[in-house]
């Protein structure tokens, strides 16, 4: 018998989508926000983001070479992490601090737990929290758009109108200010079926309803701070969010409640970061509670 054919188990066709394509879509979705950041904060925004991206790629590469594991920088997940860390930094952050944050995210949060898909906490969120605690001075020195006035974010100061908040004419970290660009990116991801609507809608909706119930201004709450960035790009991270629709909704509501409680009653203005990190930890349990019942599966006695 001549063995001229390739023999392999079925299925013999695959959808064209690969991990790299998904990560590329996320990068594309982040581009509008990057453009706005450059416009609002000047070209240093681009420099900070670029440094973060390069630092993430290099840390991943070095770690994988040193530990003799397969090199995975081609899947672009390190690029996404780098972009998100950059978006979570104020424009005047010293570059060496940004690099430290990236190393924390890639080496400690992601690679030490087994690399892509195995980390239980979102690398970018954890890096932001670590940096906020370690470099609290520079991490909270927000430059107010092109006028270059340093000041608090509108969430801390409590002054700004809706249109300014929506378009990003306010202080904050690089990627969180312009809600229009973030929503655009989110719609692109939903359209490309990279994410579903469940987590962002449940998250933002919960913050809206909760703020309204306790007598705060709900529109102001959802348009300020890092909520939009977190809800669209960070809470929807595959590794650290549940897989089933109901799980995602529970996850989103949980994030929303913790965010609102921290914002309204806590002393930190890090509601979004802490909320997502805490819900990341609950994710395996949520997955377990909301597992679908197999069709026709007979219950164990």
């Amino acid at each position: 018998m001549t063995d001229l054919m390739t023999v392999s188990p079925s299925p013999h066709i695959r959808s064209g989508r690969r991990t790299t394509h998904i990560m590329l879509d996320v990068c594309i979705a982040l581009l509008p926000s990057l453009a706005v950041a450059c416009f609002m904060f000047g070209m240093r925004a681009l420099l900070v983001t670029a440094v973060c991206v390069v630092a993430c790629i290099v840390s991943e590469l070095v770690f994988e070479l040193v530990t003799k594991r397969p090199v995975t920088i081609g899947d672009l997940s390190a690029v996404v992490t780098g972009l998100l860390i950059g978006f979570n930094l104020p424009v005047d952050i010293p570059l060496w601090q940004a690099v430290v944050g990236c190393i924390v995210a890639i080496v400690i949060v992601k690679q030490l737990f087994g690399g892509i898909g195995c980390n239980f906490a979102n690398p970018a969120i954890t890096a932001r929290i670590v940096m906020t605690i370690a470099f609290s001075d520079t991490m909270t020195a927000f430059t107010h758009n092109v006028d270059a006035v340093s000041g608090a974010t509108p969430l801390a100061s409590g002054t700004a109108d809706y249109v300014d908040l929506f378009l990003g004419r306010c202080g904050g970290v690089l990627g969180e200010t312009c809600k229009a660009a973030l929503i655009l990116g989110g719609l692109y991801l939903i359209f490309r079926r990279v994410i579903t609507w469940h987590i962002p809608v449940a998250y933002i909706g919960t913050v809206f309803v909760f703020s309204w119930l306790v007598g705060e201004d709900p529109v102001y709450q959802i348009l300020s701070g890092g909520l939009m960035l977190g809800a669209v790009f960070m809470a929807t991270d595959y590794s650290t969010s549940p897989n089933n629709p109901w799980g995602k909704i529970i996850f989103g509501i949980g994030c929303g409640l913790i965010t609102a409680v921290i914002r309204l009653f806590g002393s930190y203005h890090e509601g979004v970061s802490f909320a997502i990190l805490l819900m990341n930890i609950l994710c395996p349990y949520i997955d377990g509670w909301t597992a679908k019942r197999p069709l026709g599966g007979v219950k164990e006695k």
């Binding site: 054919m5 079925s10 991990t19 690399g115 026709g296």
Partner: protein, 433 residues
Amino acid sequence: MSPPVSVTIPMSMHIGAPCSALVRVGDTVSVGDVIAQPGGYVSAPIHASISGKIKAIGDFLLSNGNTVPAVTIESDGEMRLSEKILPPDVNDYESFIEAVKQSGAVGLGGAGFPTFVKLSVKDLDSIKTVVINGAECEPYITSDTRTMLDRSDDIRFGIELLEKYLGVKRIIIGIENNKRECVDEMKRINSDDPTVSVVALPASYPQGGEKVLIHNTVGVIVPEGKLPIDVGVIVLNCTTLAFIAAYIRTGIPLVEKCVTVDGSAVKEPKNVIVPIGTSIGDVFDFAGGFIEEPNKILYGGPMMGISVPSLSDPVLKNTNALIAFNKKDSVLQKTTPCIRCGSCVSHCPLHLDPRAISKAVEAESTEKLEKLKVNICMECGCCSYACPAVQPLVQRNRLAKAMLRAKQAKQAEIKKKIQDESDSTGKESESDD
């Protein structure tokens, strides 16, 4: 197509016991002569598909790894019909089942389960509904579509037989809604029959999967470990039904098969009626040969089909398609780490969690696999298709099922051992992991 120079007919083209050959080298056979008898209850006789001389009886390696004898017939070029062919005498349920058995019918949609076994029930009243499967089982394949369009009279006659001998009160024909003309044709031929309803189903794989089809037509779920008949349903492929009807009309047993020939390496994709046992190389030649060097050839569709090592392998009873892919379409891709995107979970038509099953397979935890209900997996391959990390998900599900079978066999063995020596020793049996 013109009769092939020779055919090779393996003694196992169905689920169940292999047949034993009745012929010897040198014998002369005509089309329709019985050349092998069933090797057990779940089995089906095999008939000569061309007329000529028995050239050899050799070994044949099946795709499941077993080797069975195969009869090679050299054609005399005449395709002479056997004189023994007579329409069977059918007048009640028993004789109908006997006729189906003698016809050599197996599930022609691809499963190859002997049809008479499926139709044999203890109590005829237990059959509430018969579902006729006109939902093409996989992408690429259109042989059932051709049956519904070209042989609708046979299907109608088959339906009448089911009503008469099985006393079926409700028949549903399920067809995917992208085959409008089939739906119209089936509605036309059954317009006077209130028993029959035609349902247009969404054209989405795996619509033709037995349990999926039952859920989408009758609306019931077949529980784990049960058969459709346990919920009062029998599913018949439309081509199987058309064949049975034709057999009862003419007495010509299962000797030819309508096969879809397609794929990126094929010059003229088409449906071809070929004698069973024809080498797939001959069938591809009839379809104009190859435009490109084929790199992978499949029995059946791209989602569940079996890849064939060589062009000399024959068309079997349950072959419904031959697909040849060029190099570009059959590159084996590299697996990358799971990113927990959940695609496999959201694509599983049976709501299984392929990722969790994979983890349990790696941990060799049979308890976990039982809890995850891997045994209801129909191996449709949607999880592997959708996975952006090219993980071998459905492949691990198969491994999981094999692990559970092995565990069951081991348990049965231990149980027997304990029974054999229980009284004398009184030893505590160790747990069996």
